[in-house]
Symmetry: none
């Protein structure tokens, strides 16, 4: 028989948001500067301006800080992307792709250094399950945005197309930040992304029609 039920002590709401944010910011800053392994819990607490014990009121451990930091920022990016597509104006598929790509490219290249750090961190700490979950959140946004395009070709499978389209966008942008020696101009990158996505849609459509015709 256990007489003690230990409840998770929880900080108050308004303060919680601030403190948690400060901790995440401090964490990301330190990771950028020194790398994940070299960042100690003490460093984070110090830079965040909170006590060591306080940090543990908000996060159960170091891994959790990393996970929340990555997830919150990527989810926010997904939300921003969705918001950018949410205008009631009817759009063609090419226009939709343009908007989607532009948000992605400009957001990340607009603050290249922190995003590069976040992406490196994400590779480092995100377990496969979370990776999949985050990925799919983006795919949902793309699928919904493309599906309402006025010229969406019925021949294409929305789910599969969106998956591939996002993979392409994501790959090219990560390419720019993580692989290329000198980060390319945002508009050049945007151009390539649009080429790739629109080219994929067009070619997929051609092949689909060819297959149907031959059948």
């Amino acid at each position: 028989m256990n007489l003690i039920v230990k409840p998770r002590r929880k900080p108050s709401q308004s303060r919680a948001w601030m403190t948690s944010g400060a901790i995440q910011d401090a964490f990301l800053l330190l990771v950028v500067e020194h790398g994940y392994e070299q960042v100690s819990i003490r460093d984070i607490a110090t830079l965040a301006g909170v006590g060591l014990g306080t940090l543990y009121l908000y996060f159960p451990g170091k891994d959790s800080i990393a996970a929340v930091t990555v997830r919150s920022r990527l989810r926010r990016l997904a939300a921003d992307t969705q918001a950018a597509c949410a205008t009631g104006v009817p759009r063609t598929l090419a226009e939709t792709v343009h908007v989607l790509a532009r948000v992605h490219v400009h957001t990340l290249l607009g603050e290249a250094a922190p995003w590069r750090a976040l992406l490196v961190l994400e590779r480092r700490i995100t377990p496969p399950g979370v990776y999949r979950e985050l990925y799919k959140a983006f795919v949902q946004v793309l699928r919904d945005a493309c599906a309402v395009a006025i010229d969406w070709p019925a021949e294409l499978d929305p789910e599969r197309s969106a998956l591939n389209a996002f993979a392409i966008i994501d790959a090219l942008v990560k390419n720019a930040l993580l692989v290329q020696d000198v980060c390319p101009d945002a508009d050049e990158l945007l151009h390539d992304v649009e080429c790739a996505v629109n080219g994929y849609f067009q070619k997929a459509l051609e092949r689909s029609r060819a297959a149907t015709a031959s059948a």
Copy 2:
């Protein structure tokens, strides 16, 4: 390489090769089973059947084992890809893309489980610099392969095109292994990859010509 085998001096080298391989295999096995963090140098040495000190004769440290394991396998993939394109037969760009994509897709999906483990590990441990280096090795292969296509369009920048093309191939294949719930059929995936790459080349060419014309 030297085709003349001199058996007298080789035992140490062949032993070295064997031991190093055994260590890498043990390492990969343990990582798949327990995760990178949980694998200790001792575990690796024990499973590889070598002494603790012996391990340090072959690798300077734990990180090195991980790095070599990942690098050697990815470099071998790059080499296989290069070899597949190395036949003297002239080819069109589309044929080249087909060969490249097919090697990549079939190699990885042919042994999906170990490759998935390797890719997860690679995300986990590869530092940015090594990532870039490995990526570029693949880009070189693509660039060289495409550049000799009989219909390579002079308007396209080989380097940039190859970079984007490999990003697309890589993204779609990783997608299949790491994101999708059920790993797609290799031929379906190959189809998508070809659509995306060929579509990208085509659209890039169109835009390039349009830009030139308008100028």
Copy 3:
């Protein structure tokens, strides 16, 4: 702010007594269940139904709670023992020993489980100084009780005899609670205790007289 001065002055004291008791009870309960090390100040405060800071109004720290809990209970036992001997009726030494032993044996074996817990706790937390102090309190009671026995032999040193007598009583009772697999019957134990104490007195007297005679 309440500017009206409340005439009652006592609530604080009765409240103080209640709260302190609740804290001690909670502490003892938790120690019995989880062991001293596992009990945190938070647990005690929670189970006692008081705030964390409130606890510090009654006790300066964790050790103090343990010390007070043990001391108050052992002092009460000493007081009860003293009270049992305090009747004005003249008694022989054997009768006195009987009363003393009976109180000790029946009190502890009457509620064996909690007393066992208390004795285990006492071993665990009582520092040497406090142990000595508590021990001497009991010795005082014994000495005073024996000294007024109508047949107290002048040859025996009261202090030393009482010390040994209490050591014997205490040892046999603790034996019963802490060592023996099955707690013996109270009357059997009482019999042994009386044998030992009376036997000690008798033998000590014999030797004392023999020594005097030979001198």
Copy 4:
């Protein structure tokens, strides 16, 4: 098979014994000086002259060091006691008690300071189960020693008598070390112990015979 017997160095065993002993000695020394809580693993390792990690090759943790230190010393005392009784010469019960008591008293008072420290430590760290186990080991020794006395009275239960006799010896000796302000002379203490034990045996016998006669 290697038939050549290599002179196997046994640094492991002889070294193990030395190192373990050094650690225990260091531990006991530090506990005497600063108290159990204040002794850190680091201090122990430093004073023992071994590395921090080395300590963990011999003991799984701090508690283990304490437990082994206490148990090994108390078991050695029990073994010494047993050895002292092991002479083939027939003895009376009183002679046996004398030998037993003398070993106990002289051993502990002979090195009062370290034994006091050990007993304080024992109270502090020994869990009830271990306490019982150690206690019973001593009782065994007493029972076996008394049972072969040439005048052992058949009326007494050997187990119960030995339990009480040891409780008395133990109590008076601990008394001397832990309670009394000035440690008494060994011979005086021995006198008291013999009085108490012999008195107990005599009185128990009297009562037993009285009970039999009345029945």
